[in-house]
Structure formats: C-alpha cells, structure tokens
C-alpha cells in the first residue's frame, strides 16, 4: 500500500482525508499494525485509484473462497456467516499475526 501511495505521490494525510480515517490509522494500516474492515480497504483502494485486490497479499482468499463456496449448498445465512468471519480475518494483515 505504501509503495502504491508513494508512486501516486499521495500523502497519508490525503488518504486520511479521502477515507475519513485518521492519519495515524493510515500509518498503522501501512505498517500492518491495525485491523480494519473490508470496506476500509475498499475506501483506501478508491483513494489510491487502484483495485482493492492489489492491496492484498499475493493470495486473494476471498476469490478462492467464492469458487469453493459455490460447491456447497449453503443457506444464505450460512454463506453470510462464513464470509463475514473470513472478511474479518482478511482484515488482519498477515504480519500483524507474527507480531503477537
């Protein structure tokens, strides 16, 4: 995310203004120190003018998942449950876990 931001010559303050988050939050998210919701990821992507998936680690779990999900006869509620849990997990940057 930082690489993209610097490449587009945007500052953390500018991203913060676009997304309604504090500059500190943007800094923390860039460092992988802060969990955030999926919609925040989308807001940041929009502020940067990139696709949200480009901000994710190499694997996009959710897209892989939706392929898997289609094989299951899940009720809409069950599907929302699975997705909401996995989205919250996706919001935790990979390296945040290592810092625990």
């Amino acid at each position: 995310m930082r690489e993209i931001r610097q490449a587009t010559r945007l500052t953390q303050v500018m991203i913060a203004a676009e997304t309604g988050l504090s500059r500190q939050s943007i800094a923390n998210i860039e460092k992988g120190r802060q969990r955030f919701m999926l919609h925040t990821l989308c807001d940041i992507a929009r502020a940067l003018g990139v696709d949200p998936s480009s901000l994710l680690p190499a694997t996009n779990n959710l897209s892989l998942l939706s392929v898997d999900m289609d094989q299951f006869a899940l009720s809409p509620k069950a599907k929302r449950f699975v997705l909401s849990v996995l989205e919250s997990k996706l919001g935790a940057p990979k390296d945040a876990k290592d810092q625990k």
């Binding site: 190499a58 892989l64 899940l74 009720s75 509620k77 449950f81 699975v82 849990v85």
Partner: protein
C-alpha cells in the same frame, strides 16, 4: 483413508499429552489455539454451528463459531471442527461448514460418500476429545458393572464436569460399553 477408532484415540491422546491435559474439562479453546488456529465467534440466528477454513496458500486456519447455540454445543462444534482440521485438511485449501446436527450437512456434489465418512470421523474425534476414553474409564471404575439407572444424578454431575450435554455423555458411555443396558430402555 478412513480413520479407525484407535487412530482417532491415539491422535487425541497425543494432543492431550502435549498440552498436559490430565482431567476434564478438556480446554478445547486452548488446544485449538495451540494448532495456530484462530477462533472467530459470531452470534448467528441459524442452524449453522460453525466451520473451519484452511487457507490454500498459507495453511492458516480459522474456525467460525456460532455462539447463539448452547455452551456444550459450542464446545462440541469446536472439537468437531478441530477434528476436521487434524484429519481432513488437504493441500489446496479446505472449507468445511457444519449445521446443528452434523448429519444433514452441506456437502459437495462430488464426494458425498467421502464427506459422510469425514463427518462421522469428526464426531468421533469430538467425542474422544471432550470425553477421553481414559478419563471416562477412571470415572466409571469405582462403579462396578457400569453406571446404573439410579446414578442419573451422578451422570448429570459428570456431564457438567466434562462440559458436555447429558445426551452426549449418555451416548458416549453407551458407545464405550460403560453404561448398564437398562439405562437405555
């Protein structure tokens, strides 16, 4: 490859040994975290009990748990999902969603039979984990010829101690031949 009862029992025994669990209730949360699995709890008005997801790339796993169900049900669900994780995760990721009774489950179109076996195995794993054979045998030892009808109260106390439902304990005891047959009539 289907797992035998003794496969499952030794798998559970090694998990309990590693975590130095010597008496009930078995700390199923702790055992799950020891495997590096994150538990995410959600309140869901639905029959879905929980699921386990293993990331195909990183092997990171997450268990989703529906906390609207009873505490004993939640423990069983966690143990069941850990069973899937220990026994059924394959390369290329894994998603396993379970509903309330683990019998009418969400299955893929392709491997219906294989998944039935996996459910049975995950249930056997959960029963063994929450009510380990060794612990039960120790408990029932004092009572000769199994637990008798008059012992309903003691079975309730025992179920509380193991953190399982009365029904689950009775089923388990009967399965292990530790229950007087008259109790089931």
């Amino acid at each position: 490859m289907p797992k035998t009862k003794s496969n499952i029992r030794s798998l559970v025994e090694s998990l309990l040994k590693q975590a130095s669990v010597k008496s009930p209730p078995v700390p199923v949360d702790l055992l799950i975290r020891r495997q590096g699995i994150e538990i995410v709890r959600k309140n869901l008005d639905d029959d879905t009990s929980g699921f386990v997801y293993v990331d195909p790339k990183t092997d990171d796993a997450v268990i989703g748990l529906n906390v609207s169900h009873s505490k004993t049900r939640q423990r069983f669900t966690l143990a069941h999902e850990l069973g899937h994780f220990m026994m059924h995760k394959s390369s290329g990721g894994h998603l396993h969603v379970d509903d309330r009774d683990f019998f009418v489950r969400f299955r893929t179109k392709h491997s219906r039979e294989g998944l039935d076996i996996q459910e049975i195995e995950a249930n056997a794993f959960a029963a063994e984990l929450l009510m380990p054979t060794r612990f039960l045998e120790q408990d029932v030892k004092q009572i000769k010829d199994g637990v008798s009808v008059s012992e309903e109260k003691s079975i309730r106390i025992m179920a509380n101690r193991y953190g399982v439902s009365l029904q689950a304990l009775l089923f388990r005891l009967a399965n292990q031949g530790l229950l007087e047959s008259s109790f089931l009539e």
